[in-house]
């Protein structure tokens, strides 16, 4: 990985830079749950509101260091489902690069 590279977490869908612009390393850890749509809210006669259900994110990734092996290489806390390297930066969400 180099400064400017992006990856996407295969467990939570989060996108991030493992090496930040200042050269420091960034360690991603997945949030615990996501909100999913659970259909129209029956209490709302206008039909404009929706019910939301919170579901757990499984196989969460946590890149923080749990320790080092015999060769001094860092071992992360949880691999989760791994990451996918984003090679086409034009596909990055604008909210990542602009801050929203």
């Amino acid at each position: 990985m180099a400064v400017g590279d992006y990856v996407q977490c295969n467990a939570c869908g989060g996108t991030y830079q493992p090496i930040l612009a200042d050269g420091s390393e960034y360690y991603h850890a997945c949030p615990s749950q996501r909100a999913i749509d659970d259909g129209p809210d029956p209490a709302d006669v206008t039909g404009k509101t929706r019910k939301v259900k919170l579901v757990a994110i499984d196989n969460r990734r946590n890149e923080n260091i749990a320790g080092v092996d015999d060769k001094g290489k860092a071992i992360i806390k949880s691999e989760g489902l791994g990451v996918t390297v984003i090679t086409d930066v034009s596909k990055l969400p604008p909210t990542l690069t602009t801050g929203g």
């Binding site: 200042d22 050269g23 990542l96």
Partner: protein
């Protein structure tokens, strides 16, 4: 009858003391001690150069120099070199290559006897944060541990979560953070609801602080949620800006989390990648 010890005579630099000891330094090396440098860092691509001088029993000064590469993940890195017999006159360690900010490298210099894990510390010489222009020196000022100083100021862009997912940032292993400010943009979907973003701080499990937006954030808009030390609470529904306070000086331990927790977050709502400013120290 009172008795008095004879008054101590001060030795004069370069001359023998009354006991016949020539003491140009408080540290005499037998040739069995080694110099060990230990560093902790959060920045890649740095190299330190450690230099020193030893006055040998033959009255000749022997300079020495060696490199050391810190780890960039806040785990400790050590380099140990053997020292010849004589008086240790001085030591200096500074960053000689790489780009860094103050507080990104902390170093400790020790004298040890023995090898590897069997090494025993004879003397802790000096410790402090090191930069290219402010070296770690022995003899020098009082030792500084890795939780002192102004800390390393870091501006971090966190993880852009998926839709309907809260932000969650974790204090890295080996770090201690003080959260100074955080910018959190919420792009709300068209679903009608009054979202209220809150920012919570926890130790990895137990929540110990939460601060929430001062108003309802409605559908189909991009809301800026600003959390900062010393900030008051305010809400501007026209400018789509919410300001909320963080406690001044609050510290987060390694494994602690900075999370959003949003009332009425919708499945299509999207947080931008959080941007935040922290002071970082090394908790080693």
């Amino acid at each position: 009858m009172e008795s008095f010890a004879p008054p101590l005579q001060e030795s004069i630099a370069g001359q023998r003391s009354p006991l016949g000891l020539y003491a140009p330094s408080p540290v005499y090396l037998t040739g069995e001690e080694q110099l060990r440098i230990t560093t902790v860092s959060n920045t890649a691509g740095l190299t330190l150069t450690i230099a020193g001088r030893i006055l040998g029993p033959d009255n000749r000064v022997r300079p020495f120099e060696f490199p050391h590469t810190p780890n960039s993940n806040r785990t400790t890195a050590t380099t140990t070199i053997a020292l010849s017999e004589g008086w240790l006159l001085g030591l200096e360690a500074k960053v000689t290559s790489g780009t860094m900010t103050f507080g990104a490298v902390w170093a400790l210099m020790e004298l040890v006897r023995g090898q590897g894990n069997a090494a025993r510390v004879v003397s802790s010489l000096q410790s402090d944060f090191v930069t290219p222009v402010s070296p770690l020196e022995w003899p020098g000022e009082a030792a500084v541990n890795s939780l002192e100083s102004d800390g390393c100021l870091r501006s971090i862009v966190g993880t852009l979560p998926g839709a309907g997912v809260e932000i969650s940032e974790t204090v890295p292993t080996g770090a201690r953070w003080e959260l100074l400010a955080l910018h959190l943009a919420l792009i709300t979907s068209a679903t009608v609801a009054n979202r209220i973003p809150a920012l919570s701080l926890d130790d990895g499990a137990s929540l110990y602080f939460a601060s929430c937006a001062a108003g309802n954030e409605t559908a189909s808009a991009t809301w800026s949620n600003e959390f900062g030390q010393g900030t008051g609470f305010s809400f501007n529904a026209t400018g789509l800006i919410s300001n909320a306070a963080l406690p001044v000086g609050i510290k987060l331990p390694a494994g602690g989390r900075i999370r959003s927790s949003t009332i009425a977050l919708q499945a299509g709502d999207q947080y931008a990648a959080p941007r935040y400013l922290v002071r970082e120290w090394f908790d080693v």
